[in-house]
Amino acid sequence: MSDLAKEEKGVTKSHGPEDHGHDDHGHGGHGHHAPDRKEYWRIWVVLLVLTVLEVGVAYLEKYIGKTALVTCLVGMALGKAAIVALFYMHLKHETKWMRWTVVIPMLFPALYAFILIAEGTYRAIWGS
């Protein structure tokens, strides 16, 4: 497809925020960034590899201890979730404001979880 035809379809070349008229605009909405199929397949491979690693780590409980195991598993899961949001949900190409609009509210469940874990740990160590 020619560049002119792509422009007519609403496809714009993916370029950095500095190329835009404003400070930090990405390409949300109808100004679709040009899809990068190779990147999509690379992300697919990364997700598969991380999934295989996760399953492998889950069988290593006897060897690496539960705290390390849970940390590894949760870290990989959060990494995979972030990759899906950034590349497949196109957050990477959204504006900074759009990214924060999504990320900040999602930090609250994580904060609650942290408080609960801290409280549980406190009770386990020093009693109720």
């Binding site: 598969l48 996760e54 399953v55 889950a58 409980e61 990989m76 609250f108």
Partner: protein, 223 residues
């Protein structure tokens, strides 16, 4: 002069907002919905964590535990099978994003092909979940389902939270399959654009994203 700006395809051209650029109303609405849905899943997973963290026995899955605590034996959750379901959802995510890519490039046939594969992946995931719960009446091997093996809703926090969380996610997959099937029909009629597929894709990728977390917390973290 028309008050509403349109592009060559007569699609709405959104104003270049200083903070959010040209994001469409549909896309922003889907993101806001997904945030609220994310809170629902967050609530489920927090409740799961609280119940799991405060229980002495999580999953009475060995004879040793039965003898030690007097609990009723429950089946362990299968990691390998659910890993295959995870693989399926990851594959359906890449096909979804390729469907959107095809539409952006003006290739409607390609978009339909990839979208069809996405729907197939979602449908197979649902079949897998039904097999996990009920065993599909003995089809596909000797497995008769977790319900048959003694994992009863309400019998323990382990069982109840398992069905609550995976069932809620399964409902999302079902909704996604219906949603994407509808989009497929409208796309085949030429009534959709790349934005329609991107908005639908946001929902589908969210379902995949949540499963990544559910798979880790429910299945992978050992008792």
């Amino acid at each position: 002069m028309s008050a509403v700006a349109t592009d060559h395809d007569h699609a709405l051209v959104y104003p270049d907002d200083q903070l959010y650029s040209r994001i469409t109303a549909g896309k922003l609405a889907m993101w806001l919905f997904l945030l609220s849905d994310g809170f629902s899943f967050g609530g489920f997973l927090l409740a799961y964590g609280i119940l799991r963290g405060s229980s002495n026995v999580w999953g009475c899955t060995t004879e040793e535990l039965v003898k030690k605590t007097g609990c009723v034996l429950e089946p362990a959750l299968g990691i390998n099978f659910t890993a295959a379901l995870t693989f399926l959802l990851i594959c359906s995510s890449v096909t979804m994003v390729l469907s959107h890519a095809s539409m952006v490039e003006g290739d409607r046939k390609g978009a339909l092909k990839w979208l069809g594969l996405t729907i197939l992946g979602g449908a197979l995931f649902l079949v897998g979940q039904v097999w996990e719960y009920w065993g599909l009446f003995g089809l596909f091997g000797p497995h008769h389902g977790l319900l048959h093996e003694g994992l009863k809703f309400g019998a323990s926090h382990y069982a109840t939270t398992f069905y609550a969380v995976t069932g809620f996610h399964g409902l999302h997959v079902l909704t996604g399959v219906i949603y994407l099937s509808t989009v497929w029909v409208f796309t085949s009629m030429g009534k959709t654009d790349a934005n329609t597929l991107e908005v639908a894709g946001l929902f589908w990728h969210f379902v995949d994203l949540v499963w990544i977390l559910v798979f880790t917390f429910i299945y992978l973290i050992p008792n």
